[in-house]
Symmetry: C2
Subunit: 344 residues, 2 copies
DNA sequence: TTGAAAGCGGTACCAT
DNA sequence: ATGGTACCGCTTTCAA
């Protein structure tokens, strides 16, 4: 039935050389004469030989794995970061081992534990909040770590992230600048999405610093926070505080759901109510009106993360670690701007 | 510096037992007395021992990997399928090894080749189009395969998919039913996105079968086809065929981009032009107007795929293979319906 | 440039 | 319920 896959020994026998020579011939940059290399290549092809990494890994103590955990697969922001990582790693012999935590620290711990058995050469996690055991596991492993999308107070290792609180603050400042006074927030209520919570914290703090009320907070429930949650939350916001003038949402998806819900209720955006998001998703750019958002360079985070790792692993040079802090940047669009309001 | 990770032998020594007993104690369902198991567990914890899968894999000839390739990370449809797979596999000791092909058969071949070295226990690919070498590699490996999102003429193994042509046809029938005559298509021009191409083929064939002109085809260029491409394509469509009455787009993302572009140009949807998509993304539901689309149960595809695999691997019972064919289902919404047109 | 031998860290298999 | 032993398929190391 399954006639047992050929091994290096089979190739060696067929080519009339030792397994060591086969091993060398199959990698680049090793001293093997052109003639024997060709002979070995042909023998390997004829047998349909495929190298067994499991054995190679065990012997060489190198797996070529980079373990990466992200909260959710269906989130274009994290997907962008992941793409940055994968694309930067392409060309090296490093491969991503991906897991998603569903925003749960316990699930993250479970994943990390599973991943550590695979002996990854590096670990990338999203955010700085982990279970105590998870921190210990990573610490004991001695594997280089990068925490992304956050600026942890107690970093495990390298960090490539941004201040989520600053993102919230940025939006408040924008709202105030545009003359809004009754300002609300949608999302970020549970301890699961700690980054969303941080954005809300920064948002609330900035309102208070400006002497504004910070009570219009609608909890969306546990993540993922999709358009549906955004829509439901907007309905609750309008029910409870009908005179709300501006709302920031924890994500662009939520903002779109919230905005369309307001529009369906007959409100004009931004004339009757302003709506803003977070993440600079393409959606916010194409929506009508275009949605004001905060750009945190998701893909760039991934690229830098991979670069940091390559340096940590000695696979790339670099005198200094790249700047690890990404600066959130507000993108003002029609959904919150006075110009759009006046032109109505 | 890095004092070499403890091995099973270290744990065995510390607990005063043999490595075999340690090996058994660390897995469930093996005959080890409660007392020694506790003792071993404590020794392992004290040492910070973490099992080395590489060694276990080599010895047991089981890696616990399922190799999965999808065209793109940033595509919520594929992400849904992936989620279906991962969630179904959770609880088993199978782990997904993910790669994205960027819609390229050559990249797929490269990935599959890389993955095969890891000795996956199963392979999942998107679509039925592969390079000849890729087909051979998979065939030689003897690893169970599932092709998804398509109904290949020459299947490599199991299939969990749907007819992309049928999806295109479905939309044409809907358009005709709603009284549209000048109908166009956006997307699916390159050989890279073979499934998008199939949808267009089915679309064109259905138009012709109904005696309608099938020349309003706008090529978006190579995938990924995002909102931006949808918008640009709509502009081209309107420039070239200003009297177009209805447009199907290759994806909901493209449809949203196309629709908003039309709206920005001052057109009303569906009064002036109807727009439809594909994939039943949340976006199509929340957009204003809501966008008519085709639901192909992306997540369900993933769930079934994983179920098929579990059976193939003997990890789940099941008398028969589950129905492998998913039926595309049209979801009619305001963006294309007469009711919405009349009510204007 | 090539080869021989000794593991890498587990598990299968057979005893006890 | 527990242990001994022979590998799994490759790379490291040292020698030729």
């Amino acid at each position: 039935m399954k006639p047992k896959a050929p091994t290096m020994a089979d190739v060696a026998a067929a080519a009339g050389v030792s397994t060591m020579t086969v091993s060398r011939a199959l990698k680049p940059d090793t001293s093997v004469s052109e003639k024997t290399r060709t002979k070995i290549q042909e023998a390997a092809d004829a047998l349909g030989y495929v190298l067994d990494s499991s054995a190679a890994n065990l012997s060489s103590r190198k797996t070529g794995f980079v373990a990466v955990t992200i909260p959710s697969i269906n989130n274009s922001n994290f997907a962008d970061t992941l793409r940055g990582i994968v694309d930067t790693l392409r060309g090296t012999d490093l491969q991503v081992l991906l897991g998603y935590t569903d925003y749960s620290k316990d699930e993250e711990e479970r994943l990390i534990e599973q991943f550590l058995r695979r002996r990854p050469e590096a670990i990338v996690v999203t955010g700085g909040a982990h279970t105590e055991r998870c921190r210990r596991l990573i610490g004991n492993s001695g594997v280089p770590v990068v925490e992304t999308w956050d600026l942890p107070e107690m970093p495990l290792g390298d960090v490539v992230g941004f201040s989520n609180a600053a993102a919230g603050r940025l939006m408040v400042e924008h709202f105030i600048e545009q003359g809004y006074g009754k300002i609300g927030f949608i999302g970020g209520d549970t301890s699961r999405d700690t980054r969303g919570l941080d954005r809300r914290r920064g948002f609330v703090a900035a309102l208070e610093a400006n002497g504004l009320a910070a009570d219009r907070l609608v909890a969306t429930g546990p993540p993922p926070i999709t358009m549906r949650e955004g829509a439901l939350s907007m309905r609750r916001m309008l029910d409870r505080w009908p005179d709300t003038e501006a709302v920031m949402c924890v994500s662009d998806q939520a903002a779109f759901g919230a905005m369309t819900e307001a529009q369906r209720a007959g409100l004009k955006v931004p004339q009757d109510i302003a709506v803003a998001g977070f993440g600079a998703d393409a959606l916010s750019e194409h929506a009508i009106p275009a949605i004001t958002t905060v750009d945190v360079s998701c893909e760039e985070i991934g690229v830098r993360t991979a670069t940091v790792l390559l340096r940590a692993l000695g696979l790339a040079e670099g005198t200094l670690a790249p700047e690890s802090k990404v600066t959130p940047r507000l993108i003002a669009r029609d959904s919150t701007t006075n110009a759009a309001r006046r032109s109505s």
